[in-house]
């Protein structure tokens, strides 16, 4: 018969301590099929056909693409469920049957550019790297040769309705039923942070892992600013956030739930949620055990007598929390000749130290000087235990720096490296050259120690938001932090002058040529004074007559 497929949707709403509200949508389709074997799949039901064709045509094993507008403020908002850097980020693990990975990568980026209406075709060898340690596969499989991994970011990419619409079309119910009706672009883009992503990977069907199925997760994270609606009242509702309420679950979904994070307020002192629910669920997420109120949309009583659900969260007081791992990055120095990149990593754990993998991909026109790399923690030198550095080649590939740094407890680690700014050819500048050039975010991946023991069985039934990153150890969980992108100015030539410059420089060369030519081909002679005009005419007449001149 047909391979089984399954669709789940969920929405997690977490009130943040700064008063903002964080909403995270996840839509997951599981499909027990094998794209890789010879039989072509022709009957698509819940899994979108465009993505299925992409997987089979380009022999993709894992694909992760995200489009983000805004920067996630870790200090105010805590950790996101799914981190992403500003702009577009794409990383792909190919199957080991692919012979020409670079060519396949180029075609893949162009096809994805068409599917998502984004300018991913600007991804080429000058901003693609092959990280050796930072991006291990998140699904199952035994390919770990990082020759099959490609990672690229476009920090300049802007996300708008044009990108949201094709993303929504990939959902089985589209934007007609279920949680996706809330995704209205005029409200979603009127927010502090908006990120939509697509993650495709192979997963085990059960704990014995006899069969694998393909998992497609579409996630959308959005943070609504407290002050944007202009009311200033600490009150949130679905209608206020999305200008819609929910009326039914997606009929094709096997599970459709809304989770509201009430961990920080189990007694209802800080905020109250209405309509109240008695369904509670606990889950381990980001090293912490959290409690959620659950609203099951497949049950008709959730919608009540008015047949629509408008959740309301009203704040009563506020508090603050500090995340365990946090990073910042900035450019130091003045002038357009040199500069220094500083990356600061904060470890806020009171007594545990843990290692982090820092990945930096710097474009070729900022020439890094790796002998100026310094890593200091608490004022002392902290030598990284693993450094993988691939220098850039002009106009071909960017710098790749990966380091494993041990962060001491309760400290700030500073990584600095000096660079020199290059002068580019006039055609290589963007039309707005004085805006500056973007440097993609650094990626900091680490295993952060967890206070509570965690469950390592990844095939058990869990809410989607807690099952994204696989958990290998009980005492630590995987976390990825992205820093800010950098905006760097480069010296510019005068763009109005190409013809003038060519003329002037060739003139100087010609002056050299002319002087040397004169001196080389002529010899000194005594100058005879030239006769006056009358004499010259007389000479001409004499020549015509055949008489010797004067």
């Amino acid at each position: 018969g047909c391979p089984k497929d399954d669709f789940q949707e969920e929405l997690v709403i977490r009130p943040l301590h700064s008063g903002d509200i964080y909403a995270s949508f996840q839509f997951r389709t599981l499909w027990e099929t094998d794209f890789m074997r010879g039989n072509k799949v022709s009957h698509y039901r819940l899994f979108p056909k465009s993505l299925g064709q992409v997987i089979s045509k380009f022999s993709v094993r894992e694909l992760h693409i995200s489009f983000t507008q805004g920067y996630w403020r870790t200090m105010q908002w805590g950790q996101p469920f799914l981190p992403s850097p500003p702009g577009a980020e794409l990383w792909v693990w190919f199957q080991d049957s692919v012979t020409d990975v670079d060519g396949t990568w180029k075609e893949l980026t162009n096809v994805l550019s068409g599917i998502f209406c984004a300018s991913l075709n600007f991804i080429d060898s000058t901003n693609t790297v092959q990280p050796s340690a930072s991006f291990k596969p998140l699904g199952i499989g035994n390919v770990t040769d990082h020759r099959f991994l490609r990672y690229a970011t476009l920090p300049r990419e802007i996300v708008c309705t044009e990108n949201l619409t094709p993303w929504k079309k990939l959902l089985p119910c589209g934007s007609k039923a279920g949680l996706a009706v809330l995704l209205k672009s005029e409200k979603l883009f009127h927010s502090s942070f908006h990120s939509q992503a697509v993650h495709i990977r192979p997963v085990c069907q059960d704990w014995q892992c006899k069969t694998t199925s393909w998992e497609l997760r579409q996630t959308l994270n959005v943070v609504f600013d407290l002050h944007t609606p202009g009311q200033g009242k600490l009150e949130w509702s679905l209608f206020k956030m999305f200008s819609r309420t929910l009326t039914e679950a997606c009929p094709l979904a096997s599970s459709s739930k809304i989770y509201i994070d009430i961990t920080d307020d189990p007694q209802g002192e800080q905020f109250e949620v209405s309509p109240a629910t008695h369904l509670l669920s606990q889950a381990m997420v980001l090293g912490d055990r959290r409690t959620f109120s659950v609203y099951d949309l497949t049950q008709q009583i959730t919608f009540g007598t008015v047949r629509s659900l408008n959740l309301l969260i009203r704040w009563k007081s506020r508090d603050m929390l500090r995340p365990l791992l946090h990073a910042e990055r900035y450019v130091a120095g003045y002038g357009l000749q040199t500069g220094e990149i500083h990356t600061l990593m904060y470890n806020n754990h009171p007594y545990r130290s843990f290692p982090v993998l820092l990945l930096d991909s710097v474009p070729w026109y900022l020439r890094l000087y790796i002998h100026t790399l310094t890593v200091t923690s608490k004022g002392k030198d902290n030598k990284p235990s693993y450094i993988h550095y691939q220098p850039s080649k002009d106009r071909v590939r960017p710098h790749l720096l990966e380091m494993l740094v041990q962060l001491p407890p309760n400290s700030v680690t500073e990584v600095t490296v000096q660079f020199e700014r290059a002068l580019l050819k006039w055609t290589e500048y963007t039309p707005d050259p004085n805006h500056g050039f973007y440097v993609g975010s650094s990626v900091i991946s680490s295993l952060v120690p967890s206070i509570v023991a965690m469950d390592t069985n990844s095939t058990r039934e869990q809410p989607l938001f807690s099952s994204f990153f696989p958990c290998k150890e009980e005492s630590s969980y995987f976390m990825r932090v992205y820093t800010e992108p950098l905006l760097v100015n480069l010296p510019t030539p005068d763009f109005s002058m190409p013809y003038n410059v060519i003329c002037l420089t060739c003139t100087v060369v010609a002056v050299g040529y002319g002087s040397l030519y004169n001196l080389l081909t002529r010899s000194f002679q005594i100058e005879e004074p030239s006769p006056g005009l009358a004499k010259r005419i007389a000479n001409i007449i004499r020549k015509m007559r055949g008489v010797p001149p004067l």
Binding site: L423, T505, V509, S523
Partner: protein, 433 residues
């Protein structure tokens, strides 16, 4: 003679050591007029650091020095300052000895020509006497060592100083008549930057003259000597390149060093003509103009050799000047090397030379000002710096052609007499026709 030279060397070393210890050393090693992507010390240190990290220095685009420099500085990186001061000292001593030897030969030739009555009677005042030429070698060494361009280049630890030392040793061995050493030093100079290849013709002409072999294309002895020299030169070049291959085990350094010099991918501003020209070049014509500019450097060899075949030492200096103006990444260190011909100034056009030298000085003062305005203050743009670059290069070209003119005029007077009369007996003027 040894005492004043030693005093000069001490003064020069003291000045450089004082500057090394001051805070100016870091400032000078960042200046684009003094260092280029080919010669910067920062890049040498970066290359050594990459080697320590286990990455080939040529896999990136930061390091463009030859493998022998890596090998040299692998051991000497802690004594870098002493190395560069020593290179300057060697250059000065080599120049001193070579000028002294050359003067001896000039006097010998003059003596024979006087005895053979070859000079017209009225140009006796143009003939050089031993007394006036006694201090010329010292002056040349002083001019090189105390030249602010040389001092800046040394304090910045630019590897141009090493290149100048090799070229000076080449000049010394050529003037002494040592064919093998001349070929070896020339191949070392060519190995480091391709342009000294043009000095081959000058060396050949001088050595042929010294061995009394006439430059006649139909004689076997001429071709035999050329073949010998070419064999020695190419042989040592191949040996050095092969040694470089075995040092790092790959041919990566060929595109990184020679490909870089010839194809000019890095457009960092410098005092030359290439950077802004290729920054503003239409893509369609890039290869064409690249070829034109590179051929321009090598192109003057044959005409200059034909014109100056009787004066090969002056030919060497002319070639050095042409290289330092038109090469792809010039620095002030190259300019310093080409100024050595100053001692041959004749009085005829010294006013012209004085004016042009003033222009050069003014431009050198304006370079840092306009750079600061463009890069740091943001109130000027790249055109200002480019304009001063143009002016600097035009001044250099005019200086070179003035020296050439003065030289040719002196030679003309020596063979035709100083006071020339026209047909009707009145005083004549000389023009170039």
């Amino acid at each position: 003679m040894a005492a004043p030279l030693t005093l000069l060397l001490l003064v020069a070393v003291t000045v450089r050591a004082a500057l090394y210890r001051s805070s100016l050393a870091d400032l000078i090693s960042e200046r684009v007029e003094v260092v280029s992507p080919l010669t910067a010390w920062k890049r040498v240190v970066e290359g050594l650091a990459l080697l320590d990290l286990g990455v080939s220095p040529y896999s990136g685009d930061v390091f463009h020095e030859t493998p022998l420099i890596i090998y040299l500085f692998h051991f000497l990186v802690d004594y870098a300052e002493i190395t560069f001061m020593l290179a300057d000292v060697i250059t000065a001593v080599a120049l001193y000895l070579s000028v002294k030897d050359y003067n001896k030969q000039v006097f010998r030739k003059q003596k024979y020509a006087l005895e053979a009555d070859r000079y017209p009677l009225d140009c006796l005042e143009l003939i050089r006497s031993p007394k006036e030429m006694q201090y010329i070698p010292l002056k040349v060494a002083m001019f090189y060592l105390l030249n602010p361009f040389t001092i800046l280049s040394c304090v910045a630890k630019s590897t141009c100083g090493l290149n100048n030392a090799v070229i000076a040793l080449f000049v010394l061995s050529t003037i002494k008549g040592n064919v093998l050493l001349s070929a070896i030093f020339l191949s070392l100079a060519t190995y480091q930057s391709i342009y000294p290849l043009t000095l081959c013709a000058a060396a050949l002409l001088y050595l042929l003259q010294r061995q009394y072999i006439p430059v006649n294309l139909r004689r076997f002895s001429f071709w035999w000597f050329v073949a010998q020299y070419a064999f020695m030169y190419l042989g040592s070049l191949f040996v050095i390149v092969g040694l470089s291959f075995f040092l790092l085990g790959s041919w990566d350094f060929l595109p990184s060093v020679y490909g870089f010099i010839l194809s000019v991918p890095d457009l960092t501003p410098n005092i030359g003509l290439f950077w802004y020209f290729f920054a503003e070049m239409f893509e369609h014509f890039r290869l064409f103009f690249l070829c034109v500019f590179q051929i321009n450097v090598f192109f003057y060899t044959v005409p200059l050799s034909i014109k100056l075949k009787e004066h090969p030492v002056f030919l060497i200096f002319m070639q050095l000047a042409v290289i330092s103006i038109f090469k792809s990444y010039p620095t002030v260190g190259d300019i310093a090397a080409s100024f050595i011909k100053h001692h041959k100034a004749s009085s005829a056009s010294s006013l012209n030379i004085f004016l042009v030298s003033c222009v050069l000085l003014a431009c050198s003062a304006l370079f840092p000002v306009l750079w600061h305005l463009w890069i740091y203050a943001g109130s000027a743009n790249s055109n200002f710096y480019y304009a001063i670059t143009l002016l600097f290069n035009v001044a250099q070209i005019l200086l070179v052609s003035d020296y050439f003119y003065a030289f040719l005029r002196r030679e003309h007077h020596l063979s035709h007499g100083l006071y020339l009369k026209r047909k009707d007996g009145s005083e004549a003027t000389l023009v170039l026709k």
